[in-house]
């Protein structure tokens, strides 16, 4: 067992224990139906969190993702319902706009040499404002393509359903993990997060990598916006407010170091599932109010940050001693 896998293991163990405790209390939670819904209900969050993992691995942060989800949802809904576009062309346009948007943020972060959070904060205002300028109402989507997609379901024994968007999230996670751990771009991202100065001295194309990371994050957020519109069959400018916080929480709980340079895409998946578990548990319980979700997520976030500090303090001392 390599030492670097310890935080990932810790997350997985905590998820297993939490799930086991939940199942002990509510045996009905151990069913393919609940597991299938885990994937469907958290699909947009998971896809966003993959992009956020790359951003955080590179040592940055992206606060604009929730706003990009809202903007994409509204744009797609308006193009389909009002302008009569085919959903696929609307999706293509939304993804291209997001790519340009993320690219510009990446350029600003690199060339203006300002902290990522302030640039992406401006991006968040811009995207949320843009969405509200297009429309302030919830725009419903009625299109046969949407009906067709919602019927693409793999039925599991025990009443479970694997929906298209749930499977799409799993696919994004697999591709994300391969890109992060098996490609040159992935190692550039890790190098940049570890230490930008030494990365650039080693010949890592810092500018290109930074721009690519934020482009990726925005494109995945737009994909999440499309998934969100498939999930709700509507576009609303105030949709997905605060999702950036959930995505960051999922990444941190998944064991990725917020200073960058260390973490796993798979860990983020467990982080998303853990957040989903908290929500499902609160729904099953019925007596707990929804605000407990926020408190529990905050507590989990704190727990994992402290855990990371302890593990890394211990391993740093071990290296010094040896």
């Amino acid at each position: 067992m390599s030492r670097s896998l310890r935080p990932l293991l810790a997350t997985a163990v905590i998820f297993a224990i939490a799930y086991a405790l939940a199942v002990l209390q509510f045996p009905a939670m151990f069913s393919t139906r609940v597991l299938g819904n885990f994937l469907t209900d958290n699909a947009f969050l998971g896809i966003t969190a993959v992009g956020m993992t790359f951003v955080i691995l590179s040592g940055g942060i992206d606060l604009s993702v929730g706003a990009v989800i809202g903007f994409t949802g509204v744009l797609v809904a308006v193009l389909i319902s009002w302008a009569g576009w085919h959903p696929l062309t609307a999706f293509a346009l939304a993804l291209s706009i997001a790519a340009i948007f993320g690219g510009v943020m990446g350029l600003a972060i690199h060339y203006l040499q300002v902290p990522a959070f302030i640039v992406t904060l401006a991006g968040m205002f811009l995207a949320r404002g843009g969405a509200s300028v297009i429309t302030q109402d919830s725009v419903p989507i009625n299109h046969e393509f949407y009906d067709w997609i919602s019927q693409l379901i793999i039925r599991l024994p025990g009443g479970g359903r694997l929906s298209f968007i749930g499977l799409l999230m799993v696919a994004v996670f697999i591709v994300g993990a391969l890109v992060a751990h098996r490609t040159k771009f992935g190692s550039y991202v890790y190098a940049l997060g570890g230490n930008p100065v030494s990365a650039s001295l080693m010949g890592v194309p810092v500018a290109r990598t930074t721009v690519a990371v934020y482009t990726l994050s925005s494109v995945l957020a737009a994909l999440a916006g499309i998934v969100f519109s498939l999930y709700t069959s509507a576009g609303y400018p105030l949709a997905a407010v605060g999702v950036e916080l959930d995505a960051i929480s999922a990444v941190v709980i998944g064991g990725t170091l917020l200073t960058g340079g260390y973490g796993f895409v798979l860990g983020t998946f467990i982080g998303v599932m853990l957040l989903g578990l908290v929500q499902t548990y609160i729904i099953f319980d019925g007596t707990l109010s929804s605000w407990w979700t926020k408190i529990v997520i905050g507590a989990l976030l704190f727990l994992f940050i402290v855990l990371q500090r302890l593990i890394f303090a211990a391993s740093a001392q071990g290296e010094k001693a040896s």
Partner: protein, 332 residues
């Protein structure tokens, strides 16, 4: 003497504020008209002061945090918690001064908690304060049990909507806080120490500055300011709304500080200019409202403003136009 005051007044932030106010005046000719009614002043200008006060107060606390190269994302949630505590306590029958003191104590404790995470556990400020940003609003809802707790207590309402010498109470509180904090950081060595920690914490510690104490101080002050702002917002609507009180105000506060010329890379800050930054934001809000644009335009204008300030502040711009030696250049 007169000349010195004039040169100090001719800085970009004040000029920008005057510019925004003039644009408002062009759009809305009655903008500068101030009337005296029921023992207090009325007018759009007074409204800017009144509405801008919560963000100004948050910015006063945020300046110190950002000067140490940190950021406090939790202030909006702390506002909601402070309002919730004060409202629930007066409704439960506690005397109002006790409720106010308890709310301020909650803010201070939240700030010290952030300070503990940053100074002792050495966690990045964005993440450390994110914990409270996520959990704080949940705790506020727990305190109010999910309801909007309304109250009729005269003291709390006075904090939010009262007036002192004709000026709105919120603006008076902001002014007093600004003067106190400015005196604290500029008439003692604390301001210098904060800048030293912001430039290089390790070096500052080696030079004998107790950087841990300082971090506790700046985060504690930020929490306290957030509690004051929370009391004002709660008093203004005569109720504590755990969901919406202070929502996204942390971002406005950061923006105000950045507009005020405080460097996000630490080491250079100004409390009064951050307050001017908050007034610029509010003057723009008011301008957009009186000129009949939908309020959503606000967000786009704010985004454009951030980019503008960032470009002006960036090393790239100072290479092209050598305006003045900033702290960053003086260091290198």
């Amino acid at each position: 003497m007169m000349r010195r005051i004039l040169t100090r007044l001719a800085n970009p932030q004040l000029l920008a504020l005057v510019g925004v106010l003039l644009v408002n005046w062009l759009l809305f000719p009655n903008f500068f008209r101030i009337t005296w009614q029921d023992g207090r002043l009325f007018g759009s200008l007074i409204d800017v002061l009144n509405r801008g006060a919560p963000v100004a107060i948050l910015a006063i606390g945020m300046v110190g945090v950002i000067a140490t190269k940190g950021v406090d994302l939790s202030v909006g949630a702390v506002m909601a918690m402070a309002g919730a505590v004060a409202a629930t306590m007066v409704v439960a029958g506690y005397p109002a001064p006790v409720a106010v003191a308890a709310a301020l104590a909650v803010g201070l404790v939240c700030g010290l908690w952030n300070g503990f995470l940053v100074a002792v556990l050495d966690i990045q400020p964005i993440v450390a304060t994110l914990v409270l940003m996520v959990a704080g609003r949940g705790i506020a809802q727990l305190i109010t049990e999910g309801f909007i707790v309304t109250f009729t207590d005269p003291l709390l309402i006075f904090i939010g909507t009262g007036s002192f010498l004709g000026l709105p109470m919120a603006a008076v509180i902001a002014l007093v806080l600004m003067i106190l904090v400015t005196l604290l950081v500029r008439r003692t060595a604390i301001g210098l120490f904060i800048e030293a920690v912001g430039v290089n914490r390790a070096a500052a510690s080696l030079a004998g500055i107790r950087s841990r104490m300082l971090l506790f101080l700046v985060y504690g002050l930020s929490g306290l300011c957030a509690a004051v702002a929370g009391l004002i917002v709660a008093g203004d609507i005569r109720g504590a709304d755990a969901n919406n009180a202070g929502l996204w105000l942390e971002l406005d506060a950061i923006l105000a500080v950045v507009i005020g010329g405080t460097s996000l890379l630490g080491g250079r800050f100004s409390v009064p200019l951050a307050v001017v930054g908050a007034l610029i934001i509010q003057a723009m809000n008011t301008g957009i409202l009186v000129s009949g644009f939908p309020p959503e335009f606000n967000l786009i204008v704010k985004a454009a403003l951030i980019f503008l300030v960032l470009i002006i502040q960036s090393p790239l711009a100072s290479r092209i136009v050598p305006v003045r030696t900033s702290a960053r250049e003086a260091r290198s």
